[in-house]
Symmetry: none
Subunit: 193 residues, 4 copies
DNA sequence: AATGAATGAGCCTTCATTCAT
DNA sequence: CATGAATGAAGGCTCATTCAT
C-alpha cells in the first residue's frame, strides 16, 4: 500500500509546509519535491498529479478530525458535551499545526472548483458525524426538535469555520482553543430545546 | 470619474458573466473584453490590472448589500426584525442573480490570497453594520449581554455564508429565500437574552 | 488571411531551416521562434500548435510541386514528356533547396503517425496529378493499357522518392537533376505500350 | 552469446508487439519489459539502450529476408524468376506478420535519424543481394545492359516498399501477395533487355 | 542474474500586459 | 480614447537509465 510507505507521508508533510509558506499558487511541484528531499519524478510514483497531492493532504488530515470525533461520539456523555468536545477538537488540531491551519482555511480554497468539490466530498464524512450529534441531541430531548438538521449543521460548521479563518487571518495572535467555551455556549443556545 | 463612464460598468458586468459561466481560472482578460465588446487594451484604461477588475466587481456589488442594510437599520423596528431583514436581503440579492451568487460564493474564493484579503476589507464595511444590529440588540435587552460580539458576528455571517454556498453548490435547486425564517429563528435563538 | 501575413511565411521558412539543421526531435518551438525573429508566443498567433507548423511546412511546399505539375499537364506534349518534366520538376525543387530536401525526405518522416497520415492527405493531391499523366498516356496509346494504375503510381513515386532519399543520405554529393534522364528512361520503359 | 539466451528473443518479440500495438512514441521501455515479463532493469542486461532494442529488432528480422533471398539466388532459374521470388518473399514475410509489417513500414520510420542510418546499414546487405540479381540478369542478357544498377535497385526497392506501405496504411484490407505478379511484370518490363 | 524504486533533464503552451498606430 | 498584435516568463509531467539490494 502506497499510503504506508514513508515517502508518501514525507511528501504530504512537505506539501503542507510549502503551501503554508509560499501560498497555493507559488507551490510548484519542484518546490514540494525539494522540501520532501526527493526528486521531482518521485512525486509521481506516489501521486497521480499535483491535484492528487492536495486532495491527499486534505484526506489524510480530515481523517484525523473524523477519527477523533468518532471516539468522542462513543463516550457516554450529553450531546451538549459532545458538541463541546467536537469544537475543542477542531480548534485543538488546527491550533497545534499553524501550517495545516493556513492550508485548510486559506490556501486550499484557492484551488479550482473541481478540487474544491472533491474536498467537499471528503468533508461530508465529517459533517455526517456532526449530524449524528444533532440527531442524538434531538432524540434525547437536549436539542430543539423543530430545528432543521441541515441548517443547524451549516450553522455549527459555518461558525467553527468562520471563527478559525478569522483567527488564521489575524495570524494566530490570540488563543483559538480558549474560544471553545464561548462558541459552544453560543451554538448550544441556538440548538437547545 | 472613471466609475461613471459606461464602459466601466460594462466591463464589470461582463466580468461577472464570464466568471460565472467559465469559472475563475478560465476567465482570461481577453474573454472579458470580448464579452464587454471592447478591445483587450481598453480594459487597462479603466482598470489597473486583472485583479483590479475582480476587486471592483466585489466592491460594486457589496455596496448594494451595505446600502440596503443601512436602510434597514434606519427603520424603527426590533433588533430581531432587523436581523431577519438582513438575512432576507442577503438571500434575496443572491437569489435574484445566480451569476453573482456563483461568483461571490465559489469563483472569487479561488483568487489569490492578496485579492482575498482585499475582499475581506470590503466585507468589513458590511460586517460593521451587522455589529451595529448586535450591539443595539444587546442595549435594548433583546440579545444576551454576555455574548462575545465578534463570535456572534462570525456565527451570523458564517451561517448565512455557509447556507448560501451550500445552495449554490446544489445548483440553486431549492428556494434560498424561503430558508430566511428558519435561519433567523436558529440564529435569534442563539443570540436572544 | 493569416497565410498572407509576412510572419506566417517567416515562421515556415524558419522551421525548415531549424529542422534541417537540428533534426526533427531537436527543433523546439523556441528555436524556431528565435530563427524567425519573433517571440515564442507569436508562433501561436499563426499556428495552432507545433504539429500545425510542420503540417503547414509540408502544405506550403507541396503546393509548389502541384502548381508546377499543373502547368506541365496543360502543355501540349506526349505523356512521356510530361512524365519527364514531372521527375525533372521534383528533382529541381529539392536540388535547389537542400534544407527543404532534408526536411521532406528525412526529418518529417520521424513525426508521429497522426502527422504522417495528415501529410499523406496532402500528398494525395500530388499523386492524383500523377494518375492523370498515367491515364492520359494509356488513352493516347503511349502507355501499356494492362498496367494497374495504382501500382504504376507507386512505382513512379516510390522510385522518385527512393532516389531522392538516397541522394539526401549521400549528402547531395552528386547531381540529382542529372539523374532525370536515366530515371525517366527506366520508368518509361516499365510503362510504355 | 547474448543473442542465444531465451530472454533476448523474448524482449525482441515483446518490442514488436508493443510497438505495433502502441506506436513508436508510446512504446516505453517499461511497457516492453512488462510485455516480455521481465523487470525494466533486465532489459539493460541484454541491450545497451532503447535504440539498441530497435536496431536489434530490425537486424533479426532483416536477416530472415536476406537468408531467404540467398536461397533463391542459389536456385538455377532465370533472373526474371529470381526477381519474382524476391518480391514474393518480401510480400510473404510481411503479410504473414502484420505486427512486423506495421513496425517496419510505419513505426520504425519515426525513429531518429541516427537509428534510421543504422537501419539503412542493415538494409544494405539485403540490397546487395538485389544488385546481384540485377547484375546477373544483365550478364545473361535478360536485363537491359544500359540501365544504371543503382537506379534500377532504387526502382525495385522503392516500388516494393511503397506498395507495402500503402497496403499497411490501408490496414491490410487487400491481399498483398496477390500483387506479386503485377508488380513483377511492371518492374521486369522496365528492366528487360 | 534480476529487480524496480528513484532519478532529473527537458519543453510546449498560456495569457496578463504593453505600446505603436 | 481605442485598438489588438506582439511579448516572454513560467511549470507540470514523462521516461530512459541507474544502482543498491
Amino acid at each position: 500500500m502506497k499510503k504506508d510507505k514513508p515517502k508518501y507521508k514525507q511528501i504530504i508533510d512537505a506539501a503542507i509546509i510549502v503551501i503554508a509558506e509560499n501560498g497555493y499558487h507559488q507551490s510548484q511541484v519542484s518546490k514540494i519535491a525539494k522540501q520532501a528531499g526527493v526528486a521531482d519524478g518521485t512525486i509521481y510514483l506516489y501521486f497521480k498529479n499535483k491535484e492528487d497531492i492536495l486532495i491527499s493532504v486534505f484526506e489524510e488530515k480530515m481523517e484525523m478530525f473524523a477519527e477523533n470525533l468518532k471516539v468522542i461520539l462513543k463516550e457516554n456523555t450529553t450531546s451538549s458535551e459532545k458538541l463541546f468536545k467536537m469544537i475543542e477538537n477542531h480548534f485543538n488540531v488546527l491550533a497545534e499545526d499553524h501550517h495545516l491551519a493556513t492550508v485548510t482555511q486559506l490556501e486550499l480554497r484557492q484551488s479550482n472548483l473541481a478540487l474544491r468539490l472533491r474536498i467537499n466530498e471528503i468533508l461530508k464524512n465529517y459533517l455526517v458525524l456532526l449530524d449524528t450529534i444533532l440527531k442524538e441531541g434531538i432524540e434525547n430531548g437536549e436539542f430543539d426538535p423543530t430545528i432543521d438538521i441541515r441548517l443547524a449543521r451549516q450553522m455549527v460548521f459555518g461558525t467553527i469555520d468562520e471563527t478559525t479563518t478569522t483567527w488564521v487571518m489575524n495570524e494566530y495572535k490570540y488563543d483559538l482553543v480558549a474560544l471553545t467555551d464561548k462558541v459552544h455556549r453560543l451554538l448550544f443556545k441556538g440548538l437547545k430545546a
